[in-house]
């Protein structure tokens, strides 16, 4: 038997190799799927494979199937991984002793108290860098992002993030030195402006200056870096969320030398972010925030919540705190992922929304007559308001 020609032998070798590659591929492929399905095969049931898809997965799926179960993940782990800013006084700041404090931090505690029955069961993950915060969330390194993050349409649609109830309404403002003679953006022709990058800020300022037909010279960087450069005199103007500006200025010894212009050029509703396709988790976060707001509206405070729970004055208080009213049952509100008293625990841990506000940022950022104040109860007849004014119908920014 003769071997085929040189060309033929190459063909033979190629075929042999192709076979070997196929086998190798199949073996490696099988190993990979073995790993993925290990848990499913342990129970040896086909249906388990379906449930497998409910486990949190690191990346967004192309389809719209529910796939997140962060709340179960948090409960199993026993701690809440909260992605927070650690460089902004008042909102999220790590002090010299390593303690993380601020307005956003209180909501981490409230959610931990609600879900884990322990306000201290929080692991504060540093999400100070604005340009990687959404990756942290999408990759599952944090359960929730509470980090002065603005809801925008493009973030909601493009990124693997879903926004819960807004915790703080602010807008982009400008800080200047009082002796600069600048009173509005129309005085800022060709000004050197320090702009925080990795946020919506730089787009707002670019849009605004296009609209008013002026040019400017931006210097961009991380929030704390551009703030430092501004205070050294590198820029004429510092632009960021008005709340951010207030928090930077209030901690300075020479705070009186600076002012924040009344002009606001954007809407910045700051809200907690969770992963897409995780309704249960988003619901819990949403209703903790609403619960803290409702507690303020109806006068439940950190001090009186225990007494209120022991002896609820009316059915709504009983429902909110998850206790029976009189001889009745605990009202079923349909929360099957958390127990009925989760709001009660949140209030006991951090107080109602107003208490959080006054404690953390009330000194620096006045609340009365701002969007962050409670809406007025419906008056018998409108007195002060022009047509359509005085409420808080608030369209989320389209950008």
């Amino acid at each position: 038997m003769r071997l085929p020609s040189l060309k033929g032998r190459r063909l033979v070798s190629a075929l042999l190799f192709a076979g070997a590659a196929l086998v190798a591929g199949a073996v490696i492929g099988a190993c990979t799927s073995d790993e993925e399905d290990q848990q499913a095969q342990a129970t040896d049931q086909q249906q388990q494979v379906m449930q497998q898809q409910d486990q949190p997965q690191p990346r967004a799926q192309a389809s719209g199937e529910p796939r997140g179960d962060t709340i179960q993940l948090v409960m199993d782990r026993g701690t809440l991984k909260c992605g927070v800013k650690q460089t902004q006084p008042l909102f999220g700041f790590r002090d010299d002793q390593g303690n993380v404090t601020g307005f956003d931090i209180e909501f981490c505690k409230a959610i931990a108290a609600a879900v884990l029955k322990d306000a201290d069961a929080v692991e504060y993950v540093d999400a100070s860098d604005a340009s990687t915060r959404f990756e942290l969330l999408a990759d599952g390194q944090i359960d929730i992002l509470i980090r002065t993050t603005t809801i925008t349409s493009s973030r909601d649609m493009e990124l693997d993030v879903d926004f819960a109830q807004t915790t703080f309404y602010t807008g982009q403002g400008f800080a200047v030195r009082k002796d600069s003679g600048i009173n509005s953006t129309s005085d800022m022709a060709n000004a050197a402006i320090c702009v925080q990058t990795g946020t919506t800020t730089e787009q707002n300022v670019a849009d605004h200056f296009t609209d008013i037909g002026l040019d400017y010279e931006p210097t961009g960087g991380l929030s704390q870096d551009v703030a430092a450069a501004f205070f050294e005199g590198r820029c004429d103007v510092l632009t960021a969320d008005a709340s951010d500006l207030a928090s930077r200025i209030v901690v300075r010894d020479d705070a009186d030398d600076y002012k924040i212009l009344p002009q606001i050029i954007s809407k910045e509703p700051l809200a907690p972010g969770v992963r897409d396709y995780d309704s249960d988790w988003k619901d819990v976060v949403n209703w903790v925030v609403h619960g803290l707001l409702r507690a303020e509206e109806i006068g439940i405070t950190q001090a009186n919540v225990a007494a209120m729970a022991a002896n609820p004055p009316n059915t709504e208080v009983a429902r909110l705190l998850g206790v029976p009213f009189g001889d009745g049952e605990v009202a079923a509100l349909g929360f099957d992922v958390v127990d009925a008293q989760f709001i009660q625990r949140a209030i006991a841990a951090v107080g109602n929304y107003g208490e959080i506000y006054d404690r953390e940022i009330g000194n620096a950022i006045p609340r009365d007559c701002t969007l962050n104040a409670l809406a007025r109860p419906l008056p018998a007849e409108a007195v002060d308001c022009g047509p359509g004014e005085g409420g808080i119908m608030y369209a989320l920014p389209y950008r």
Partner: protein
Amino acid sequence: MSTQAPASPPSAGGGLPPDGGVPLIYRRGFRRLVQQGIYVAVTALVAWYVYDSLNLREFGFGFLDDPAAFKVGNQWLTDVDGVTSSRIEMYLVGVWSTLRVVFVAILLSTLVGVIVGVSRLSSNWLVARLAMLYVEIFRNTPLLVQVVLVYAIFLVGAPIIQEVLNIGDFAFVSNRGVAIPWPVPDGGWWGAPDWFVGVWVALLIAFGAFAMSVRAKRQDRERETGQPQFANRWAFGIFAVAALVTFVALGLPVSIDRPFVEGTRYLEGMVIRPEFAALTIGLTLYTGAFNAEIVRGSIQALPRGQSEAANAIGLSGYQRLTLVILPQALRQMIPSITNQYLNVNKNSSLAYAVLYDDLFRVAGIIQNKAGHALEMFFVIIVTYMLISLVISIVMNFINSRVTRVGV
């Protein structure tokens, strides 16, 4: 297929079959095929895994054509507003910013390296020790620390713009940057358009080439006759006279733009911004320390006889260095110096720490707006690799010129 038997017995007619009777697995060709096959299969599997797990189905670069909607600072010769321009244009502005820093830092760090490297070998105790102190400080501390420190010194140390340091109405220093005079095209006597300055530049290049050829000719003659021909003086003289004559003949097409301060900003002139300065100075000092060590090592690697021979024929210290030592040391230096140049390119991404809008920061802004982190990092990596490749190609070309014996 019956012909696939891996090894056939020798045929009855005697002699070896065409394959020499070697079993298939010992044949070199077959082994290579298997090796390459395994390589291809593993690569394909990894690629498939990456594709599958990273959700690359939506992988694409279309988002780079969308409007940028942000503006970057530190632009020079460009004025891209960010509203009408696309993200890719904004990215290219960032690339241009990176290239400027890399170019200037490479030039300055080479200069620093040669001067300090030679100084380290100086017989002057003070000069040698100062050079050693410089090298040890700057190569033993992190570059990030140096860059941030230079920037902080600039921001805190330089006066604010309201108290700007005025150097004879000629240059200004504040923590908004250093403003210096800068040549700009000018209509001159005849009100010519800006491009007219190009004519003068073309003439300068032509006369420069002519001066160099005169210099080469005179050098040759000097070598043949032994009579001094003053080649450098002639070349410089020709060029200077030609430059002056054409400059006047074309009606003074270039004027010097002197900066001045209006309110809180610089007008006219050239403004070196603190961010650019901090990054460039940091890169220069750090890389210069390494370059100095390379220069010193290359000089010390030369046989002592070279210096002794130079002394023996009566060359001065300067002549010994420029005619004998450095040209030979250059061959040793270039491969190591090339590495340092590549490091300058890569280290320029530390712009992130000093608010300089280099390509990495601009890419970060785009990424924050549009997502697509994978694509953006792909673009970033390819850009840095391209810059590195260009540096390598140029340096390899220079290396092949100075290496007389090809390897």
